[in-house]
């Protein structure tokens, strides 16, 4: 009796949100998001699979040795990691000063520049790579590391500029002024006040850039294949030439760096640092 009135009061104080409906929504979302990943992931340890069964016929680690023993696949892993690290580095050098400028200076063309960066995002990736390819043919950049690197860096410019710019803008000016007041030089102020406070935003940008590079398949394939193969481009050939289980093992390997980064930067990404970066001010 008292339970009932308590429940009634609770729902009166909150807005009505149908309980069974939201429960169903949650279950469907779990299946929708995690289902495919789990379904593929299990295959990495599966012997063979007979159709209507919900589990494999047996378990094995055989596929792991196939992948780990394959030299081309190994090289693709190395290529991907090195390329992603290099991309983040280059992109940071190019974009972070600009991010600071967007946050702290008012200059001619500031808004145009910000929107110009956005326009890059509006041109379809595949179309962009096709057009870049025709330029790269002329410049002899096809199938070169530099060519692939350029394509990867292009894919990170928006993240590396917008998100840190928002982070720099969020650092209160009064903190910088207090440090100046205490006698610190401009450079000193930047490295001991501004930079540390903006670090979460820069970190998120770096993570997103790393993932973007690690994830990049279309451009790398078009510009780099078959000489320079990364993990995602290898995946294209893999799924056609190997049994499903090998692709599953490869997928798990491919997902490891991403998941590690997810755990490292999860708080900041969910905390709104990413979202904050996408509102032009």
């Amino acid at each position: 009796m008292t339970m009932i009135t308590k429940r009634a009061r609770k729902s009166a104080a909150r807005l009505n949100f149908s309980r069974p409906l939201s429960g169903l929504f949650c279950v469907l979302m779990v299946v929708f998001i995690l289902g495919p990943l789990a379904w593929l992931g299990i295959r990495a340890f599966a012997e063979s699979w007979t159709f209507p069964n919900l589990g494999p016929d047996g378990w094995t680690l055989r596929w792991w040795s196939v992948v780990l023993g394959d030299e081309t696949l190994g090289r693709a892993v190395q290529n991907s990691l090195a390329l992603a690290a290099l991309t983040v580095l280059v992109s940071a050098c190019i974009c972070l000063p600009a991010a600071y400028a967007f946050a702290r200076y008012e200059f001619w063309g500031r808004r145009t520049f910000l929107i110009g960066l956005f326009a890059l995002n509006a041109f379809p990736k595949m179309g962009l790579y096709v057009t870049i390819a025709s330029l790269f043919y002329a410049l002899n950049l096809m199938s070169t590391v530099l060519g692939v690197l350029i394509v990867h860096v292009l894919g990170t410019v928006v993240f590396m500029t917008w998100i840190p710019a928002a982070a720099f803008a969020a650092v209160p000016r009064s903190l910088e002024e207090a440090a100046r007041d205490a006698g610190a030089s401009k450079l000193r102020v930047f490295f001991s006040v501004t930079f540390p406070l903006a670090l979460p935003g820069i970190l998120v940008a770096a993570v997103m850039s790393f993932l973007a590079s690690f994830d990049e398949a279309q451009g790398s394939y078009l510009i780099g294949a078959p000489d320079i193969m990364t993990m995602p481009t290898q995946m294209y050939t893999l799924v056609l030439n190997y049994p499903n289980q090998v692709a599953a093992v490869f997928s798990i390997l491919l997902a490891i760096p991403s998941v590690a980064l997810l755990l490292a930067a999860h708080k900041h990404i969910v905390g709104g640092t990413l979202a904050e970066g996408f509102q032009i001010k």
Binding site: C26, I33, F51, L54, E106, S134, V157, A255
Partner: protein, 313 residues
Amino acid sequence: MTLAPTRGSKRRAIATPAVARRPLGFFLALPPIILILLFVGFPIVLAFAFSIGLTGGLNHVIASIGLNVHEAENWWGTPAAYIEVLSNSRILRDLSVTVGVTALSTVTVIFLALGIGLFLKLRGGRIARLLSGLAIIPLFIPVVIASWAIVTFYSGDGFVRSVFAQFGVEAPVWAFTMVAVVIGSVWTSLPFAVLMITSGLQAIPNAMIEAARDAGAGFLRIVVSILIPMAFVPILIAVTFTAIGVVGSFTVPYFTGPNAPNMLGVSMSNYFSAFNQPQQSVVMAFIVFVIASGIAAAYVWANFRSAKDQGKV
């Protein structure tokens, strides 16, 4: 006038400090701009020239490699390639499929992201937080893997059909159909939309909602009249980025979609590599670009308008 210090005026004061109007900012901002002008702007101009049949200069190599290249006889170009592409019924079908998939995926993504965001804002609790965390996961899964996982999940011997088969029901095969393309697009676009929309909704003070309830508004009213208009800009950003991402996508339709008709991203790549008809491929890129810029323009316009509405400009 005695204006109260609003958020807008404060932000403005930060954005336009008197001391900072110096060329230094301009030069600091230059490197990414140059990079983009060089490797995006310039290729696009070049490609546009190529698409209208101007095959001289840097376009010479590609024009000589490619098949079926329309060359212009004069300096202003020829629309021949556009005419050819736009009168090709297979490409037109690809175009309508592209528009359809983009619209459907965007609507679904925004609907789901709004659902999660509203759940988190209005009800809260552990389940809501878990749900929003769950929706972020695809952000960290490479699209190639995601596409492949979705194909396996919805394929002829996939999970969905297996589960239905347990009850003796023959479920449809969605892999390699446009359904799978929509599912894949939604799956990969969801995190960004959820991040944008939840953070937009969370930024709305609870007092705004309570004031509406106090005025007599129910759930739907609050969502339609208060929450959506107040989170309009983040929602719009989510819409544009989702739509732009889907309209130009390649990996998802390439893995999960049928051979034909498929989205323009796939046809573009086919024409470029498999058919070796780069000019037609570039024309398709410009068609997609026109659609995407339309969406982007809506975003820029709305961003300005809302800034004006709230007294920030």
